[in-house]
């Protein structure tokens, strides 16, 4: 049990159930996520995809089922039996969460550099010069001009804020990143750039990602695998290209056919 088992997934979700009053948001959701794998959760609003994301990211408690994460000892650990301290530490080191609205994931009145480095400072980095170098490195990687390092995100455009949020999450080299509609709040012309950045970074850093989106094109571009949700149920899942090119479930067929082809 204590040996590192190569055949264990990074995240194992089993039979999750979540209700709000008498409305069931998630019916028995189960899936595995492997290291370096990008999984898209696709559906319309009300499908339960955001609820699912919040539950597996330990932001909301499920009513039933479990979520297990592969810890450093190579063991699957139930995230809901961890202490609050452990969960919070995980959220700031091995995990990332990219919000749809960048303002929810940034300190808007603190400089871009400090936004990027905060996690490191929280982990005990006390060398200002090194922190600044790290900030420069990451701003460069998300294509933000270093001259903006001491400006606050209030002065940034939507696309820049989102790229800053991404940098803030990636600075601790997380293994797993959750993304909730990361480009939906942006202008169409700006989305492409952010998506391209995400594609590069997830590949280079071998990140495992669960990305929630209503946009099939996003799934096509970023995801290795995808799941389709309808009314709280996962109705279809599989390799992205297979699901999109040869949808089996009627709802998936409907989604795919309603996307305008250029």
């Amino acid at each position: 049990m204590s040996q590192s088992d190569q055949s264990l997934p990074l995240l194992r979700v089993q039979s999750l159930v979540k209700s709000y009053g008498d409305r069931v948001a998630i019916h028995e959701a189960s899936f595995d996520l492997w290291p370096g794998e990008v999984m898209a959760v696709v559906g319309e609003s009300g499908s339960g995809k955001s609820s699912l994301l919040n539950v597996i990211a330990a932001r909301t408690q499920p009513d039933a089922g479990q979520v297990e994460y592969l810890n450093h000892n190579g063991q699957l650990e139930n995230i809901y039996t961890m202490t609050q301290a452990q969960q919070r530490l995980l959220s700031r080191t091995e995990w990332g969460f990219v919000h749809q609205n960048a303002a929810d994931g940034l300190r808007m009145d603190v400089s871009a550099g400090a936004n990027v480095c905060e996690r490191l400072m929280g982990l005990g980095e006390r060398h200002y010069g090194r922190l600044r170098q790290t900030a420069e490195h990451w701003l460069h990687r998300v294509e933000i001009d270093i001259s903006r390092m001491d400006d606050t995100p209030r002065t940034f455009s939507g696309g820049m804020r989102q790229r800053l949020q991404i940098a803030r999450n990636l600075v601790t080299q997380p293994r797993l990143v959750f993304m909730d509609e990361p480009t939906s709040g942006l202008d169409v012309s700006v989305q492409a750039r952010v998506l391209d950045l995400l594609r590069q970074l997830t590949r280079k850093m071998q990140l495992a990602v669960v990305i929630v989106t209503h946009d099939l094109a996003v799934a096509r571009l970023l995801a290795d695998r995808m799941m389709v949700m309808q009314h709280g149920r996962i109705v279809e899942s599989g390799l992205t290209d297979q699901v999109l090119d040869d949808p089996q479930h009627p709802y998936t067929q409907l989604l795919v056919s309603s996307v305008l082809q250029p």
Binding site: Y20, G21, D22, R23
Partner: protein, 370 residues
């Protein structure tokens, strides 16, 4: 030759003398008696008792006299005095249904059992300065308190509007659970967050009327989603009862005047609750309608969390409202800025000078230290 400033003690004693002179005013005029204040500045006395948390009109009047009419200062005096009093026990919960009514109105019904008893109120006066009062004589304008059409002696037990609404199950009720714990006493324990409703109500009851009024007002101007109605405002005497162990039953030890407000709000219902009315509650000593009403609106706003409403405005935020409602804390901290701060200021002076030295051109950009 510089001589260090000394003689602080003498300076302080001189302030006492000057203060006493200011308080007395011109000795050509009669000295105000505590009893006169008690009788003729009743509404000031009521406010000081409420926020001072002591029901003793004579002490409140004394505090007002000593404070030259500054009500917040008077409240301070009364609270400081209260700190020294021994605690004998707690009374039974007041039964406001058994109130000897001076006034009782409801905006939710045109008429109701017990009637609309207008009582003594400014509500129907025209706010015209009455110069006959200058001449120190009885006012001629007696129509300022119109006669009511209700029976002259309201019955002892007048049902509360909320109880009437409750007969149809239209309004939320709170059954007291078994082993319901005693409320904590904010005059003995520090406030912690999140605070339960009993604690919040105690904080609001002692809270500054002006602050609560502003917070309440904000809830009516779109900074909240409740649509309030005055279910009932009642004012009159209730009995204070205690239940000594040796007796095993409650005995009355006196009466106090109180004002109570039940505010009724809409609630669309949720998945588990049918639509019904929700409540806000206000209570104050003496005749203090504005306070009781403001308190009830803020009480309701602070229940946003419990009722699943989005918290979007300051009046709904516990930490904001409850941390800033106490006039003693607010006045003390605001006014403490008058105390010497020159050592800290010294440090700031140096910092600003240093920054200007280093970046003379940039001082236009920098925002300076906070």
């Amino acid at each position: 030759m510089y001589v260090a400033v000394k003689g602080g003690e003498t300076a302080i004693l001189n302030t006492y003398k000057m203060l006493a002179e200011q308080r007395r005013g011109n000795t050509d005029y009669l000295e105000l008696s505590v009893e006169q204040i008690c009788q003729q500045l009743k509404l000031s006395v009521d406010r000081v008792m409420t926020e001072g948390s002591v029901y003793d009109p004579e002490l409140a009047a004394l505090a007002i006299k000593q404070a030259s009419g500054d009500l917040i200062e008077a409240i301070f005096l009364l609270r400081a005095y209260r700190s020294t009093l021994p605690r004998i026990g707690n009374t039974c919960a007041l039964d406001t249904a058994r109130m000897q009514l001076d006034r009782r109105i409801s905006a939710t019904f045109k008429d109701l059992p017990g009637g609309q008893v207008l009582g003594p109120t400014y509500d129907y006066t025209q706010r015209l300065l009455d110069f006959t009062l200058l001449a120190n004589s009885q006012s001629e304008r007696t129509e300022s308190s119109p006669k009511t059409s209700a029976p002259s002696m309201p019955p002892e037990q007048v049902p509360r509007v909320v109880d009437l609404l409750n007969q149809e199950g239209l309004i939320e009720t709170f059954t007291c659970p078994a082993h319901d714990p005693d409320p904590i006493d904010l005059t003995r324990e520090p406030l912690r967050f999140p605070a339960d409703r009993a604690t919040r109500l105690q904080n609001l009851a002692r809270g500054d009327e002006g602050f609560l009024l502003a917070m309440a007002y904000s809830t009516q101007r779109g900074y909240s989603h409740t649509h309030p109605f005055v279910g009932e405002v009642r004012l009159g005497q209730v009995a204070i009862e205690i239940e000594p162990e040796e007796l095993g039953f409650a005995i009355s030890i006196g009466d106090i005047d109180i004002t109570e407000c039940e505010m009724v709000n809409q609630f669309a219902g949720s998945k588990t609750e049918p639509p019904q009315f929700t409540r806000g509650y206000g209570l104050a000593f003496g005749h203090s309608e504005r306070k009781a009403m403001a308190m009830s609106l803020v009480d309701r706003a602070l229940r946003a969390d419990e009722l699943g409403e989005a918290i979007e405005s300051p009046a709904q935020m516990q930490e904001f409202v409850l941390s800033h409602s106490d006039s003693l804390e607010a006045s003390g901290f605001v006014q403490h800025l008058k105390l010497p701060h020159y050592v800290d200021f010294q440090s700031e002076l140096e910092l600003v000078r240093k920054m200007r030295e280093n970046n003379p051109a940039e001082h236009a950009h920098s925002q300076g230290p906070t």
